[in-house]
């Protein structure tokens, strides 16, 4: 697996092919950030809570999938003729559903009793949940080690078109994010989705229409957690990641600049911000690699935050954010 990263890194030079290859890489990373950011935004819009437990929920989802695939070989064990990819997708769907349940449990156990309390307390609670889940993850995976999640799209299966390298795994990531965006768009037109938008806009008026605020809260956490899990899974699948480990939750933290750029309360903003950050990070990693002596290793990791700070100076509410929204 390490070898695959070397191959990717070897696409050197500054040709057009390299640019396109890196652009695709950035879009795939951006797709993961988009998924994470969408979860953040949906939970924030519906409950006004900025959750810090997002990354660990994502890791829990990814861990479950890794558990299915690597440890108990489910459902491949029973359906031996099933292609590996399809078997993985089935485990992934179950893992995402389980993450949604985790989201509902968090909402019911920790967030619902706090409704009406200062937002700061609630945000601190999510931070506590994050620490608990991360510790549990460390116990299950093992400190410093990782749980393989399989390689459903090959470790380094690529298609080369005119010198542009297209890893299949990245295509799958982008397709999954696109599918998530489309499903969300359709959902927000449905009866429940409309109710959710109404509740986000004016909760009391929505309650007066017979919309149960509690149900909307639970639903928002379920959707948010599911989106996080999808992001977490694709962040763990090679060659992007090497299975689930203690750094998996950091994808959510790195998606943070995305929601700041897009605006905390904007779905479109999450998509735009997610892709912007992903592409910026990959491009910086490639084109600034020659300045490693000056900038140091891992400069690309702070690029999202630099972009975020630049945006905060010019547009404090993000590209699509509502002005009245309280800043965090």
């Amino acid at each position: 697996m390490v070898r695959s990263m070397i191959i990717l890194a070897q696409v050197g030079g500054s040709t057009l092919e390299t640019l396109l290859t890196k652009l695709l890489d950035g879009m795939a990373l951006g797709a993961i950030y988009t998924l994470m950011a969408l979860g953040f935004v949906i939970i924030y819009k519906s409950t006004q809570v900025l959750t810090f437990a997002h990354g660990s929920v994502a890791a829990v989802g990814a861990y479950l999938v890794a558990y299915f695939v690597t440890i108990i070989n489910w459902p491949g064990r029973y359906l031996t003729s099933l292609p590996v990819t399809l078997s993985f997708v089935i485990s992934a769907i179950v893992g995402v559903a389980a993450a949604a349940v985790v989201g509902i449990v968090i909402e019911r156990m920790f967030i619902r009793p706090m409704v009406g309390q200062p937002l700061f307390s609630i945000v601190m609670i999510t931070l506590g949940i994050d620490i608990i889940l991360r510790t549990l993850l460390g116990d299950f995976v093992g400190q410093g080690s990782q749980l393989d999640i399989g390689a459903p799209w090959g470790i380094f299966s690529v298609t080369k078109i005119n010198g542009v390298i297209i890893p299949h795994s990245y295509v799958a990531t982008i397709v999954a994010a696109a599918a998530a965006v489309i499903v969300l768009a359709l959902f927000f037109r449905s009866r429940t989705g409309t109710a959710m938008r109404a509740s986000a806009f004016d909760q009391e008026a929505a309650m007066a229409q017979g919309i149960s605020a509690g149900r909307i809260f639970a639903l928002a956490w379920a959707i948010g957690a599911a989106l996080a899990a999808v992001g977490g899974i694709f962040g763990s699948v090679p060659p992007r990641g090497f299975g689930v480990n203690q750094t998996t939750p950091f994808f959510a933290l790195r998606a943070f600049p995305a929601i700041i750029i897009g605006g905390l309360d904007s779905i479109i903003g999450a998509v735009v911000g997610g892709f912007t950050i992903g592409i910026a990070e990959v491009m910086a990693g490639h084109y600034l690699s020659q300045f490693t002596d000056t900038l140091g290793i891992g400069f690309n990791n702070i690029v999202p935050y630099l972009v975020m700070m630049g945006f905060l100076l010019v547009k404090p509410y993000g590209l699509f954010g509502t002005k009245e929204i309280r800043r965090v």
Binding site: E204, A205, S212
Partner: protein
């Protein structure tokens, strides 16, 4: 149909807002609930529709019955399902959403597609203005249209009792007339109406009965015609002074009369 008895409401555990009010809405009636600012009209509505929680309010005494069933402990969604909807004070439409989507949220509790469509047709018949604006963003409608949208939204749940909290607020006199006629039209469809108003003249002109509240108490009730003819109501709410309608100089009013309140 709706019976509120001896209702006492306290905000934040200490602020007594309603001290034992009672009111009744019979089947097919329009009942007006009048009172000045801070009288407790909106709190009464919140108590009936279960929205006190949002404002840290509690019912500490008394009961609210709808169709013989006690509803004071029910959740807002259950109350809507049982047949009471409201048009909130200040309209509170979902400004970012389209007119259609606003109406759809109103029908949230109704899962039966055919009856939602029927309700939609009824709303369009009552408010033809909304027909041309179905796709437009609700926030861009004029004040009158927004009020109609709010009323249409409340009607989408096919209620048996409609509570209107100050529908004439901030509307031009012509529009107030129009809203008044629409309320009569809604009532003619067999829907009972509890009309909360500061515009006493408008409310009493269409109501069967009326109640007058002041600082959390009911101070007067009776047939609308009787209230319209009452000297005190005329003086305090309708701005008519004296028998011939001539204006009384404030200087001529005795000190205790200037401070006159309903109970003193």
């Amino acid at each position: 149909m709706l019976e509120v008895a001896n209702l006492e409401v306290v905000y934040n555990d200490v602020i007594l807002v309603l001290s034992g009010i009672s009111l009744k809405v019979e089947d097919g009636e329009i009942v007006a609930l009048l009172g000045g600012n801070g009288a407790g009209k909106t709190t009464t509505v919140r108590a009936i529709t279960g929205l006190l929680d949002v404002h840290e309010g509690d019912i500490t005494k008394g009961k609210i019955e709808f169709k013989g069933e006690s509803i004071e402990k029910m959740r807002p969604s259950a109350i809507v399902k049982s047949g009471i909807t409201q048009v909130m004070e200040g309209r509170r439409i979902f400004a970012e959403m389209s007119v259609d989507d606003n109406l759809r949220t109103g029908a949230y509790t109704n899962k039966d597609k055919a009856s939602v469509l029927a309700a939609f047709d009824r709303v369009m018949e009552l408010f033809p203005v909304l027909k041309d604006r179905r796709k437009s963003t609700a926030g861009y409608l004029s004040g009158g249209e927004q009020q109609m949208l709010a009323m249409g939204r409340a009607l989408m749940a096919s209620p048996q009792l409609l509570i209107l909290d100050e529908p004439s607020l901030g509307l031009a006199p012509m529009l107030v007339q129009q809203i008044r006629d629409i309320i009569v039209g809604i009532n003619e469809q067999g829907i009972s109406v509890l009309l909360i108003e500061q515009n006493a003249h408008m409310a009493l002109s269409i109501a069967n009965r009326g109640y007058i509240m002041e600082t959390g108490k009911m101070v007067m009730d009776g047939a609308a015609q009787k209230l319209l003819g009452d000297e005190d109501v005329q003086e305090f709410y309708l701005g008519l002074h004296g028998e011939e309608g001539e204006r009384k100089s404030f200087r001529d009013v005795k000190h205790y009369k200037r401070r006159k309140r309903w109970l003193s």
